[in-house]
């Protein structure tokens, strides 16, 4: 995982609410044992027709939307199954940032753990970005240190992120390494507090 301080990318709109992880990556693609290669299956049922050709109606298939790295979606993005294949697929496709009014808890954490930034903004702010993106993709700039999203057209929004996650993302840290530094505390817990040891 490499560090993530600022990011500028092409943003596209997908105005759908309650997009669940079954939609993001259908289960028939969960059988791999690697973390990579899921991008081609992202939004599979929406993206392709039954004969395997691309569905032209689907937002991300519009030629001008290709190569996007920022996804703007509607409320409760990433609900449903806890599969981490969902952020893997989004990442492998090329998305680094997702902006939505709200995210499902597990999905939100899974994004951060994989170095992808989910940004919750207010509904009216997201509505503005969605409307803009529906016309054509546009450039969005994210400054994680200042917790700001701007679009070069005067739009500016601040977003929330836990200080812990901010630090992790900016430094590109491996969480297990950090925890293993607390090994003594874990051992002590096991000896003195675990009811399965002490009762």
């Amino acid at each position: 995982m490499s560090g993530f301080k600022e990011f500028t990318g092409k943003a596209v709109a997908m105005d759908r609410a309650n997009v669940d992880t079954d939609q993001i990556i259908p289960k028939q693609f969960l059988k791999r044992i690697e973390k990579t290669g899921f991008g081609k299956y992202l939004f599979f049922d929406w993206r392709y027709n039954a004969d395997g050709s691309e569905n032209e109606q689907f937002e991300l298939n519009r030629p001008e939307n290709k190569g996007a790295s920022i996804l703007i979606a509607n409320e409760n993005f990433g609900c449903g199954s806890s599969r981490e294949h969902a952020p893997w697929a989004l990442l492998d496709y090329g998305f680094k940032v997702i902006i939505a009014p709200s995210f499902a808890d597990i999905f939100y954490q899974n994004c951060l753990k994989n170095g992808m930034l989910p940004i919750p903004l207010k509904q009216e702010q997201v509505d503005y970005l969605l409307e803009k993106g529906k016309k054509q993709p546009f450039v969005v700039h994210i400054n994680l240190e200042e917790q700001k999203v701007t679009d070069g057209d005067g739009f500016e929004a601040e977003f929330e992120i836990h200080a812990y996650w901010k630090k992790m993302l900016i430094n590109g840290w491996d969480e297990i390494e950090i925890t293993l530094q607390l090994k003594d505390k874990i051992e002590e817990f096991e000896k003195t507090k675990d009811p399965y040891t002490i009762l």
Binding site: K31, I33, G80, D105, I176
Partner: protein, 470 residues
């Protein structure tokens, strides 16, 4: 001021706390299955790390195992996941209930039935329905694969303390109304994200009167309301269920634990961030008609119309859902015809669920043109059902009787609903494509699913029981 069980369990598991960071929580039980673990084990291997507590880790295979001809697995990639899990468990010393084990089954069914699931434990699994285990008064939640790796390596997890929500269901349930109807009713009323950021404690007379199986059904679908965990304070029902189970404390030790578990139940005057109160008498048998579990209505009602919704986003969700489902606004729920019935999944595949289905179909026949499947949650459930003769009742009625696994809950194996066809399913998710591309899922209770199998469309089982008793 008293404390809730959620706060009590949390405080007892904090290994490390530091300003500006989530808490580091100790994990008492880590359940592992074939789909969300391979990348975690390979991560350990790459960094030369070990599983810290294999004795607190337990694995099974359930998501893509065949439920028929178990040893002929044509899907090479699925087979690869299963053999990868076998190899990983052997290499890292983790106990595995593999495909030939008498204890194999859906991870959320076997945890409780083996007594691994106990009050006061923190339990995680790379699966969102881990909330099921909350029925025992455990704090149980689903995690992603990175977290699976983290727990394997450290037996801990970084977590922000969730808010607490008490959901009190008072009164009594009417005849024919089951735990599944209760949770579907809650989702219909409060939507798919009312629980986001919360752990839900289910309380009240209705919950107190429930068996462990019923409590599991409710806790199971907490995640469908956005809550990562749902739980019930432990009581005598919980302790009785656990007594004598394979991995539960034995003998005197068990009594010691019961004393400890009792202290965990929420205090009378416990404080919560939010409280919701419901009445059991208001709940009818429910049927989902849309593409998320909140798109659900009482069986004796009709599908909503555009006028029932205010916002554009709700209207367009309704439109999109009905298009996918091939249904019309205002249509009577009882007029929805079904071609498939699936009784199974970690929501409703335990012995009581199978008994409920068998009771409805006894001496009757599955409607012509309907394919009906019963997939017990575990090998132990299957065995018990066979001892009770339930398999005979079901197969004589025309049901298929299968081996245990997730099966048509997510159709990762060969059990798939064909595109455009309707399935009355006792599972937990009716998302687009969940039971197969284009498949149309209706979430119901086991008794409602069984009745739909007989009639070929949904029927209000309350009418059936009156008809029968006349």
């Amino acid at each position: 001021m008293g404390k809730s069980i959620i706060d009590k369990i949390w405080e007892k598991h904090v290994v490390h706390r530091e300003e500006g960071k989530p808490d580091l929580l100790y994990i008492d039980l880590h359940l592992v299955h074939e789909v969300t673990s391979p990348q975690a084990f390979s991560g350990l291997r790459m960094k030369n790390r070990k599983v810290r507590r294999p004795d607190k880790t337990f694995a099974t295979m359930d998501h893509n195992v065949p439920t028929i001809n178990r040893h002929i697995i044509n899907d090479e990639i699925a087979l690869n996941q299963m053999t990868t899990l076998e190899k990983n468990c052997a290499e890292f010393g983790v106990e595995l209930a593999g495909i030939d084990s008498p204890y194999q089954g859906i991870v959320h069914v076997i945890g409780p039935e083996l007594g691994l699931t106990q009050p006061g434990k923190t339990i995680v699994c790379g699966d969102s329905h881990t909330s099921t285990h909350g029925a025992f008064g455990a704090l149980a939640f689903g995690i992603g694969t990175s977290e699976v790796e983290h727990v394997l390596a450290t037996q801990t997890i970084w977590q922000n303390k969730p808010k607490t929500l008490k959901l009190e269901i008072n009164g009594k349930l009417g005849p024919g109304v089951s735990a599944k109807d209760v949770i579907l009713y809650i989702l219909a009323k409060y939507g798919v994200n009312f629980g986001t950021g919360y752990v839900i404690e289910y309380a009240g007379e209705v919950v107190r009167n429930m068996s462990m199986e019923e409590r599991m059904t409710i806790c199971n679908m907490s995640i469908e309301g956005g809550a990562r965990a749902g739980l019930v304070s432990p009581d005598e029902t919980t302790f009785e269920y656990l007594r004598g189970r394979k991995y539960a404390p034995q003998g005197e030790k068990f009594d010691k634990f019961v004393e400890y578990w009792k202290t965990l139940a929420s205090d009378e005057d416990a404080e919560y961030d939010k409280v919701i109160t419901l009445n059991g008498e208001d709940i009818a048998p429910m049927v989902s008609w849309g593409t998320n579990p909140s798109m659900t209505s009482p069986v004796d009602s009709t599908i909503p119309t555009m006028e029932d919704y205010k916002t554009e986003i709700e209207k367009s969700s309704l439109k999109r859902a009905l298009e996918y489902m091939g249904l019309k606004e205002g249509q009577k729920i009882e007029d929805i015809k079904i071609q498939h019935v699936f009784i199974g999944s970690c929501t409703n595949s335990r012995i009581e669920d199978i008994r409920a289905a068998a009771k409805v179909v006894k001496g009757k026949k599955v409607h012509p043109g309907v394919r009906a499947l019963v997939v017990p949650g575990s090998q132990q459930v299957k065995k018990q059902a066979e001892e009770e003769g339930l398999d005979k009742i079901l197969t004589e009625a025309g049901f298929e009787w299968r081996e245990s696994g997730c099966s048509m809950c997510l159709s990762m194996n060969a059990d798939v609903v064909p595109s455009g066809e309707h399935c009355a399913s006792t599972s937990n998710r009716n998302f687009e494509g969940r039971q197969g591309a284009g498949a149309r899922t209706h979430l119901v209770s086991p008794a409602m699913a069984a009745a739909a199998a007989i009639f070929g469309h949904f029927v209000d089982i309350r009418k059936l029981t009156t008809v029968e008793s006349v």
